[in-house]
């Protein structure tokens, strides 16, 4: 029966090309706009570490003084050196890392390369295992390297290609800010998006070329990037004693019970610090997991959400338009439908026939919409925004395109089809 209806639908659609084209164009435009914006939203709000993100947490505590204190305020979004090191060394989580971003001058040995600045991450040994960073050569540095401020570095694949022509460079030397660092590892391509572990630098497309121990970077006073919030006596010269929050702490907690226990530990730590006079405020802690943290930090640009709303509004207009056109199309065939009804077709089968026709329009419109979305995404990639390069259609979004197109058109076809089924066969046969 479906095949017959499909045949009828195609014949009917061919009979009135103008109206069919109008419907297909309307659906294609609406779907194209929607899928372009939805794909961008989908890419930007994706999970940067699927399978692992639910076990990664971002602890926050409140070490500030009583100036401007209000209960229920959000604690600082980063931690100070003192607290970060205390929590790191407490080792209450399954894994933990403390970090900040920066940029360092790299002085290649080859005279053919000019010295250049590159993005760096100053972190601790746990970073690589916790975030499941893939290694091409060598391995991460050890906790002993952290404790001893060792001059060791892990390079990105890109930097390794640039400096060592892609060869296994473990054991070789890289000079940064006039200090020799021993390469202990080279990581493979690794670009989690969003750049979840440090939202205070580029939120998308961020990529570090070199990783060095945080303690080493602090000792050598490497330049840091990102945000810093100070209170009381503020930063001064020594970042290790500053009353400023400027580091990101991440912990891995493998079960909800452990997460609850860690939150208790944070409260306990705050109380302890208050008791010895380091903290002034009552304990105020947060422990969000990775996706909750991205959500709280509103990592998806508000413009992207606005564009999705606009596109949905546009699709709605296109659909109402299609409903009207389909109504015209179906009613025009009242006579034909009257004949089918008179020959014994039930209302239900006429209804099904018309819906097949609507679905066909949706499918063709979806195909057009897909082409428009591909073109739209190509335009997005040419925009000067930091997430531009990420805007690609993936398989789930491809499926969504057709589901949305056919679903929306079927929905739009319901009313006209129902209305067309109401024709009285006798009346249609009599007139004309």
């Amino acid at each position: 029966m479906f095949g017959y209806y499909l045949d009828l639908a195609l014949r009917s659609l061919k009979r009135n090309r103008m109206l069919t084209a109008l419907m297909v164009v309307a659906i294609a435009l609406g779907i194209g706009a929607c899928m372009t914006t939805l794909t961008v939203l989908h890419v930007l709000s994706g999970d940067p570490l699927p399978g692992k993100s639910a076990r990664l947490y971002y602890p926050q505590i409140d070490p500030q003084d009583m100036d401007g204190y209000q209960p229920q305020n959000e604690p600082p979004l980063q931690v100070s050196w003192t607290d970060g090191m205390n929590l790191l060394h407490a080792k209450r989580a399954d894994n933990q890392a403390l970090m900040t971003g920066g940029s360092v001058p790299i002085q290649p040995e080859q005279s053919s390369l000019e010295p250049f600045y590159d993005d760096a991450r100053y972190t601790t040994a746990g970073f690589f295992a916790m975030f499941e960073v893939p290694f091409l050569y060598g391995r991460a540095w050890s906790e002993a390297d952290d404790d001893g401020s060792a001059r060791v570095a892990v390079l990105s694949r890109k930097l390794n290609d640039k400096l060592f022509g892609g060869a296994d460079s473990t054991g070789r030397t890289v000079r940064m800010e006039d200090v020799a660092f021993r390469v202990v590892g080279v990581i493979d391509d690794w670009r989690p998006n969003p750049h979840f572990y440090d939202l205070f630098s580029a939120r998308y497309g961020g990529e570090e070329s070199v990783f060095v121990p945080l303690t080493t970077a602090a000792d050598l006073k490497f330049g840091r990037n990102g945000s810093m919030d100070c209170w009381g006596k503020g930063s001064g010269d020594n970042m290790k004693t500053a009353t400023c929050t400027w580091l990101q702490l991440w912990v891995q907690l493998d079960s909800p019970a452990k997460a609850a226990a860690y939150k208790d530990f944070l409260i306990h730590y705050s109380q302890e610090q208050k008791a010895i006079g380091n903290f002034q405020r009552p304990p105020n802690v947060r422990l969000r997991n990775l996706m909750e943290w991205l959500d709280y930090a509103k990592v998806v640009p508000s413009d992207v959400r606005l564009q999705v709303w606009l596109a949905l509004g546009f699709l709605l207009v296109c659909l109402v338009n299609t409903v009207g056109l389909m109504l015209a199309k179906f009613l025009r065939r009242s006579a034909e439908l009257g004949v089918r009804r008179a020959l014994g077709a039930s209302r239900r089968s006429v209804f099904a026939q018309l819906l097949v026709e609507a679905g066909t329009v949706g499918l063709v419109g979806g195909l057009g919409g897909l082409l428009l979305a591909v073109a739209g995404l190509w335009l997005v990639r040419r925009q000067p925004v930091n997430y531009a390069a990420l805007a690609h259609l993936d398989l789930p979004m491809l499926a969504t395109t057709f589901l949305l197109a056919v679903g929306a058109t079927l929905l739009a076809g319901l009313l006209p089809a129902w209305r067309a089924c109401q024709v009285t066969p006798a009346l249609q046969l009599k007139s004309n």
Binding site: M18, L19, L22, V25, A26, L29, G30, A33, D67, G68, P105, P115, F116, Y117, G234, S235, G236, S302, D303, R305, L306, Q307, W309, L310, A311, G313, F314, L316, V317, C318, V320, N321, V323, G324, L325, L327, A328, K329, L331, R332, Q383, P384, V385, L415, R419, S431, N432
Partner: protein
């Protein structure tokens, strides 16, 4: 005269009429809000920075020790001033639309009880005030003695110039000259007010605070080094900047020039507002597509109606209606439906605006957008219906005599 007739006919096509009206209503709501967003975005990009943008450029370097600042600043300024066409070069921390390096929360009392907001600080060296071309409306410009050395992030005790907008925010209706404010231990006293002065970045608190900036006369030193403000005649500026890069690469080879942030203020401004312009052009695209789709829908349905009523049209023609009568019939019909849609659309427009205001920092939809949107849709409807209506008017009276 025809209106009664038309309404009676429309009552027979309630569903189709309702659909067109609904489409017009949705289009009206989206159109008004999209146009409003476009105007809002474009308004942002037209902010008056208050400085001579066409004559200014920023020059930024990296890769030096803060300890060598005094020597470095002197070498840099000497190198820059030697470039032919350079009118002035001075040490600054940043420039309008440049990197927002000096944001600070300020208080109106020493105890820090009355919070004034987060302002942008221009910590600029001698010569920069004149170079920027800021227009003083009250008080005086900073003089040589006002330039104090940095202690931490700013001078301890500064005589500053503020923008008119900031003065009105901090001391509404009062004379701002001589007023004081604090940021932590740092003390600031107002000696002058300028008409306009945009902050380096939009900063916290949104777009209403774009002119919350303070000019702090500062002595170059270890904490104020590496960023320079160049001034040249507008037509020479691109060449002067290019020459300056070459000259510095020769004269001060031990530093790295930050090409990304060494640009003319025009370039910096263009970069600063790029995403707003992209969004605005996207909205224009949506509006165009929306109007196109709506027009196509009207054409489609009107054509259907005309075809369906060929016999009635023929009969009307046969009993004396002129072509003009038939044309006007379809035009009036369209006008009535669109009017109905617009009435509904205005309510929808306000609902949509209220929703957007909850999520985005947007003012109320100004009432003027509604008549403008209505006019646009009336016009669109008339243009779209013209083709089918002309076809209807061309139906010959003889059709009435044919059976079908």
């Amino acid at each position: 005269m025809q209106t009664g007739l038309i309404l009676a006919a429309l009552r027979k096509h309630r569903l189709a009429t309702l659909l067109i009206a609904l489409e017009i209503a949705l289009a009206c709501a989206v159109l008004c809000n999209a146009c409003f967003l476009i105007a809002h975005r474009m308004g942002l990009t037209r902010v008056d920075s208050g400085v001579d943008e066409s004559a200014l450029a920023v020059f930024k370097i990296d890769g030096f020790e803060a300890a060598q600042a005094g020597d470095l600043n002197a070498r840099m300024l000497a190198g820059l001033r030697a470039v032919p066409g350079m009118q002035s070069a001075s040490v600054v921390n940043t420039a309008p639309f440049g990197l927002p390096t000096g944001n600070a929360g300020i208080n109106l009392d020493r105890e820090g009880k009355r919070f004034g907001g987060v302002v942008g600080l221009y910590l600029d060296g001698p010569g920069s005030f004149e170079a920027l071309g800021l227009r003083l409306v009250a008080g005086r410009a900073p003089q040589t003695g006002d330039f104090q050395p940095m202690v931490g992030f700013a001078p301890k005790d500064s005589q500053v110039v503020v923008s008119h907008t900031l003065a009105e925010h901090l001391w509404p209706g009062q004379d701002p000259l001589g007023k004081e404010f604090w940021s932590g231990d740092y003390h600031f006293r107002v000696i002058g007010v300028v008409a306009h002065m945009a902050r380096p970045g939009a900063g916290e608190g949104g777009t209403g605070t774009i002119e919350w900036s303070v000019f702090v006369p500062t002595q170059p030193g270890p904490n104020l080094v590496g960023t320079y403000l160049l001034r040249a005649a507008p037509q020479d500026l691109p060449r002067v900047l290019r020459d300056a890069k070459a000259a510095i690469a020769r004269a001060v080879p031990d530093v790295v020039i930050d090409h990304e942030n060494s640009r003319t203020l025009g370039d910096l401004r263009e970069r600063y507002f790029r995403s707003d312009r992209v969004m605005a052009s996207l909205l224009v695209g949506v509006v165009a597509a929306l109007l196109g789709v709506t027009a196509l829908g009207i054409v489609g349905l009107a054509s259907f109606w005309v075809q369906q009523r060929r016999r009635q049209i023929g009969i009307r023609r046969a009993i004396g209606a002129t072509r003009g009568d038939i044309l006007r019939y379809f035009q009036t019909e369209n006008f009535l439906i669109v009017t109905f849609g617009i009435a509904l659309g205005m309510l929808l427009a306000f609902a949509l605006n209220a929703m957007l205001m909850r999520f985005y920092e947007l003012p109320h939809l100004p009432l003027a957008y509604l008549p403008a949107g209505a006019l646009a849709l009336w016009g669109l409807g008339q243009v779209a219906v013209l083709g089918p209506a002309l076809r209807a008017a061309a139906v010959p009276p003889v059709v009435a005599t044919r059976s079908g």
